[in-house]
């Protein structure tokens, strides 16, 4: 028993959801501002509120993480509302990740959206999507997982189609929505089958039921688990549910692409990690470790191979993001039960570093779109002479994505592959390493274009978008600083992951 004094000092348990609430309230506040003053677009106020909200969520998540809320150092995970929601280290880790990416993207959008209509709606949609992602990380029941996933997805469809006079954006939004609808159907059907086999939607109960005797319902459970995996594969843009990704990322406004490919993907992993590790025992009808091994290898290989032959930088980044989904899948593909926390944590840490470097890369593309520079590698030629700081940042992102030292992406990939090797799946690490080597080819094409090639045509860059620049530089700084600062990150991630392993 805790001493009475301490208990009196403790906050009520619902406050553990503060990061989620901060995001949701900020989204609502933006709508309120817009309804008070619908015509007068106040970009600074809107972006400011959005940033403050995201940073508040980041601060709360960071505070909880360091204070030990929901972690073994205090009283372990906090469950709420009939165990439907859970707050533990992993929840907070991912919420901090989503909040960081949201803050970066909101700041960058300030310049990107300049002079466009419906800005308040844009920021509100983004905050609601972030709320959905934060809930996905806190889902302890399959029903919550589904609702949260939809809460994250529906604003995303609108965000992708935000440039409604741009046919590319609208087409991308529609495709994203159609594939999303299909995937949601698969996911919901999968959940219903799992429920049919186990009689519960709460993950711990599902785990128990699946670990017990299913008496003829193994097939039902197996199909259900596979279909649930399909739903997550959609969210994480993994093969074979990846088809929407290149088109959506390419057509969407670049900040939205960054948001989707970093935060939304990480949210998919957050809920997938939770559901599979705490909900589905390894021996339950389907060998899901093998399933994720297949998905990981195919996803990373397909993503990298396709990225290598692209001509447009944004589309290359889209495929590279598929490739990175393949790397992150190693967290589940090399999961070995009790000792699986290490590789799972490495995967989480990789997603965090990826959140900064990939968002930064897309924001650089946003910068290029803002300047009216073309979309292909050739159009980027000689850009470094005009915008050296941003080009340095982009080079940092590219080398970090490829996994070269001295950037954050080196350690995160290193720990991920080491985790796979330690778990006995050296071949998985080998495939990852080969793919990384290949990825260096197309990432360095960007750097080469920026620094070495001569510009094909003269271009005037015009004004410098301060907020966008700041977001790019900040992301680059974070990418660099995550190398020396990787120790605490990987420790937090691995202990958070170890805590959820049943």
């Amino acid at each position: 028993m805790e001493p009475a004094l301490l208990q009196a000092d403790q906050l009520p348990t619902w406050t553990a959801l503060a990061p989620v609430l901060a995001l949701a309230v900020t989204g609502l506040l933006l709508l309120v501002i817009d309804s008070i003053d619908p015509n007068d677009t106040r970009p600074t106020l809107l972006a400011g509120v959005g940033t403050v909200g995201a940073l508040a969520a980041l601060g709360l998540a960071g505070w909880f993480l360091s204070a030990g809320t929901g972690q073994p150092s205090t009283n372990g995970a906090i469950t709420l509302y009939g165990d439907a929601l859970i707050v533990d280290g992993m929840t907070l880790f991912f919420q901090a990740l989503f909040a960081s990416v949201t803050a970066l993207v909101v700041v960058a959008s300030y310049d990107y959206l300049r002079g466009r209509a419906y800005q308040a709606e844009f920021y509100a949609l983004m905050l609601f999507a972030a709320t959905g992602m934060a809930l996905m990380a806190a889902a302890n029941s399959l029903a919550v997982a589904f609702v949260a996933l939809e809460l994250a997805s529906l604003p995303s469809y609108a965000l992708v189609a935000f440039l409604k006079r741009d046919t590319g954006s609208v087409e991308a939004g529609l495709k994203y929505f159609l594939i999303g609808a299909l995937s949601s159907a698969v996911f919901a059907f999968g959940i219903s089958l799992v429920y049919a086999a186990t009689g519960s939607l709460l993950l711990p109960d599902v785990y128990e039921a699946l670990a017990g005797d299913l008496t003829g319902l193994t097939g039902v459970a197996g199909v259900g688990i596979l279909m649930v995996a399909g739903g997550f594969a959609f969210k994480t843009a993994s093969v074979p549910f990846h088809f929407w990704a290149p088109e959506a990322y390419e057509g969407a406004p670049a900040p939205v692409s960054g948001f989707l490919s970093s935060a939304s993907k990480a949210a998919g992993f957050a809920v997938a990690f939770r559901v599979f590790v705490t909900g589905f025992p390894l021996e339950a009808g389907v060998d899901w470790v093998l399933l994720f091994q297949v998905l990981a290898v195919v996803t990373m290989t397909l993503g990298n191979f396709a990225a290598a032959t692209q001509e447009e930088v944004k589309r290359m980044l889209a495929y590279s993001s598929i490739g990175h989904a393949g790397y992150a899948l190693i967290g589940l593909a090399a999961f070995t039960g009790a000792a699986g926390g290490d590789v799972l944590g490495a995967s989480m840490a990789h997603l965090l570093v990826y959140g900064f470097m990939n968002t930064g890369a897309f924001l650089f593309v946003a910068l290029a779109e803002h300047w009216g520079v073309g979309r292909t590698f050739d159009d980027y030629a000689g850009l470094a002479s005009k915008a050296p700081v941003a080009s340095v940042a982009m080079s940092v992102f590219m080398f970090s994505l490829a996994g070269l030292p001295p950037f954050g992406g080196f350690f995160s990939k290193y720990f991920l592959f080491m985790g796979a090797v330690d778990a006995g799946f050296w071949w998985l690490a080998a495939v990852g390493a080969v793919n990384s080597a290949l990825s260096l080819f197309y990432y360095s094409r960007v750097v080469k274009a920026l620094w070495l090639d001569d510009a094909v045509s003269e271009f005037e860059l015009g004004s410098t978008p301060t907020a966008l620049y700041a977001a790019v530089v900040f992301a680059a700084l974070a990418t660099v600083l995550l190398l020396p600062g990787f120790g605490p990150v990987i420790e937090t991630a691995q202990s958070a992951a170890a805590a959820i392993v049943p």
């Binding site: 159609l178 088809f243 389907v286 060998d287």
Partner: protein, 683 residues
């Protein structure tokens, strides 16, 4: 507590600062400094000299210093404690003595350069002084290094500086080529040194020379390992004794390259292409001395390996004689000096290999003085002769350049080993040590002794052939009739070194000590102080040699001195007969077929070029073919396969959303079927 030793890093940093100043001046492209940057160099080396003398005084007072300044890398090593890579300073009698030598010679060379470079109107002076500053700083850093890795790093810097300075006149064809040769040949040796450094770390987990009581340096660990008190990691299935010999020989590779020992001596004569003050610095105090100093520094490690000692002794003895014979026929002044340097360092190696630690250090000291003197004297002559170095174009300079002549004569007498000049004492001690240890049951050393003894008359002969041809007789050219006068900045250093070359032998009058019993072997007592593991008597305890005498110690001392002095006088007399005449003529034709052999340096360059062309080049070509064909081929194949499949994958992405829906469904169905079958619940 702040002591004088806290200033030890400043000895290295001062010349480095002068290097930075000179580089800054050179980069600015303007003539910012008076004298082209010589003044900061002189001030810096002067300051270092003062500090070095202060260090030596403190060491004389019985203090020593071994401190780690900075640990720049640390890591865990399986099976041992952590491994640290550090920079540190070690001041003990040996390094204090070397510091004084190096800073003194560097200061004199800087001053001399005022006359040789500035007064001669040379261009690129900031670059020159930058090179000198870095050269001095590197050598000083090497001298104070307290571990083998740091020593290696500064050893490499010394090599780099020699490259920069030998190739100073880079627009002429000769110097760049000579610089490259010096760099490559010494690098060949350094390659083995590097492997040796790694081997030392792998074997002992430390590369400290001294270390502490609880974690001693590697020479002490080697000794303990042989007594079974420490377990060293040995490799290749060798026992500790054999493995230590291998490691010692690997490090010796670097020594042989830097100290120009057979067969890696070929770079040194070519290095004469550098400005003459640089030659003085290279030969007397920095580059070439570095090799011998390294062996002395880690002598405790070599002392426990009789085989390594034997190799050192034989290589040294052979080089002493071998290089001497080549010096006999050379026409250029500096070429003669170059071969004499190789030969003299051969003596030092012979001494080290024969257990004569004090003798070798002693010769290092005296040689530094008289060889710097001879080079600076030669520089003075070359300046007077408008850069004509051919001795056959000189003659009769002694009356016109008295200061140069007399100081050069003092240096020559020292080099030839004539009583009572400095070289006599040190060379005599080397031969004596070799002889008594050879008699004491190491017959191999007697072979080394024979080499050394035979080299004595050869040395005296070529030295005085040089003196007579240059300074005596009638002037043979117009330039020699009216040489360019030289100023104080040339004469001053010559005078200082002339005095030192004459009297420096007094620091260790070992024969006198034996004969009279007076304690006049000061250097011996000096080197017997400091860290107990680095003292002379410790080395004498652990080295494998015993002493024996021919009819008593006194008899042996007298006999040895008489024989070597007699042989030196014999060589001198022959030179006098042949060349101390008003109109000397070449006598080389009398040598017959040997003449060509000597002129062409025993075809050393030729066989090395042959090896490079016929053995190394085909091997390199084969490796290149393998690299281009197999490795690159595999890489290219992988990339073309990837790009091809990448372009195929792009085609799946048709842009038609119904196709995507179909593919998603098909993919999911395929997974369902496969895993259903695998899971045993489908079909």
């Amino acid at each position: 507590m702040a002591g004088i030793f806290d200033f030890a890093p400043a000895i290295v940093l001062l010349p480095f600062l002068s290097f930075l100043i000179a580089v800054g001046t050179a980069l600015s492209g303007r003539d910012l400094l008076p004298k082209g940057g010589a003044i900061p160099g002189i001030a810096a080396t002067g300051g270092s000299l003062v500090l070095s003398v202060a260090m030596a005084a403190a060491v004389a007072g019985g203090e020593v210093y071994d401190e780690t300044i900075y640990a720049w890398a640390a890591g865990a090593v399986p099976g041992s404690e952590g491994l640290e890579l550090t920079f540190g300073v070690l001041i003990d009698p040996l390094s204090a003595m070397m510091l004084v030598i190096v800073t003194l010679i560097a200061l004199l060379v800087h001053v001399f350069s005022l006359g040789y470079m500035n007064d001669d109107g040379q261009t690129g002076l900031p670059r020159y002084y930058a090179g000198l500053g870095l050269f001095t700083a590197s050598m000083l850093g090497f001298v104070v290094a307290d571990n083998l890795l740091m020593a290696f790093m500064f050893f490499e810097l010394v090599g780099l500086c020699s490259y920069l300075l030998i190739g100073f006149h880079f627009r002429e064809p000769g110097p760049p080529s000579a610089a490259k040769k010096a760099f490559l040949v010494t690098r060949f040796g350094d390659y083995f040194f590097l492997v040796g450094v790694v081997a030392v770390f792998a074997t002992f987990g430390t590369a400290q020379f001294v270390g502490t009581e609880s974690a001693p340096g590697f020479p002490v660990l080697a000794e303990q390992a042989l007594h079974g008190e420490f377990t060293a990691n040995t490799f290749l299935g060798l026992g500790p004794q054999a493995w230590f010999t291998v490691v010692g020989l690997l490090v010796l590779g670097g020594v042989i390259g830097k100290s120009a020992q057979f067969p890696l001596h070929t770079w040194l004569p070519d290095a004469m292409e550098g400005p003459t003050p640089v030659s003085a610095l290279i030969h007397a105090a920095t580059m070439v001395a570095a090799g011998v100093y390294l062996v002395a520094r880690m002598y405790g490690f070599y002392a426990v390996s009789p085989t390594a000692l034997g190799v050192i002794a034989l290589v040294g003895g052979f080089t002493a004689l071998f290089a001497g014979t080549m010096g006999v026929v050379k026409r250029e002044l500096k070429q003669v000096l170059a071969y004499s340097t190789i030969s003299q360092y051969g003596y030092m190696m012979l001494a080290l290999g024969a257990g004569g630690y004090v003798a070798a250090t002693f010769h290092l000291l005296t040689h530094a003085f008289f060889k710097a003197l001879l080079f600076l004297g030669a520089g003075s002559v070359i300046l007077a002769m408008h850069h004509n170095e051919n001795m056959w174009d000189m003659g009769g300079l002694k009356d016109k350049m008295p200061v140069t002549y007399y100081s050069f004569l003092a240096g020559s007498l020292a080099l030839a080993g004539i009583f009572p000049f400095a070289g006599f004492w040190s060379k005599d001690e080397i031969l004596f040590e070799t002889l008594v240890h050879g008699l004491g049951g190491s017959p191999l050393l007697l072979l080394g002794y024979a080499f050394g003894l035979l080299a004595v008359p050869v040395t005296a002969f070529y030295t005085f052939r040089m003196v007579y041809l240059t300074f005596h007789g009638e002037p043979r050219t117009e330039q020699a009739e009216s040489p360019e006068p030289v100023r104080w900045n040339v004469k001053g250093p010559l005078a200082v070194l002339g005095v030192l070359a004459t009297v420096a032998g007094a620091v260790n009058l070992a024969p006198v000590a034996v004969l009279t019993g007076a304690h006049v072997d000061f250097l011996h007592s000096w080197l017997d102080g400091g860290f107990s593991a680095l003292t002379v008597h410790h080395y004498e305890e652990i080295d494998p040699y015993a002493s024996a005498y021919l009819g008593g110690e006194v008899t042996t001392v007298l006999l040895g001195a008489a024989v070597s002095l007699g042989l030196a006088l014999l060589g001198l007399g022959l030179a006098y007969r042949l060349y101390a005449v008003p109109e000397p003529v070449e006598h080389t034709d009398k040598l017959g077929s040997v003449k060509g052999l000597l002129y062409d340096n025993y075809y050393q360059d030729e066989y090395q070029v042959y090896l490079a062309n016929r053995v190394v080049l085909p091997l390199a070509r084969a490796a290149d073919t393998f690299d281009q064909g197999v490795i690159d081929g595999a890489v290219n194949a992988v990339s073309s396969v990837s790009l091809f499949s990448g372009s195929r994958i792009r085609r799946i992405q048709t842009g038609v959303v119904s196709n995507y829906a179909a593919l998603v469904t098909l993919g999911l169905t395929a997974l369902l079927v496969v895993f259903g079958v695998l899971g045993g619940w489908l079909l």
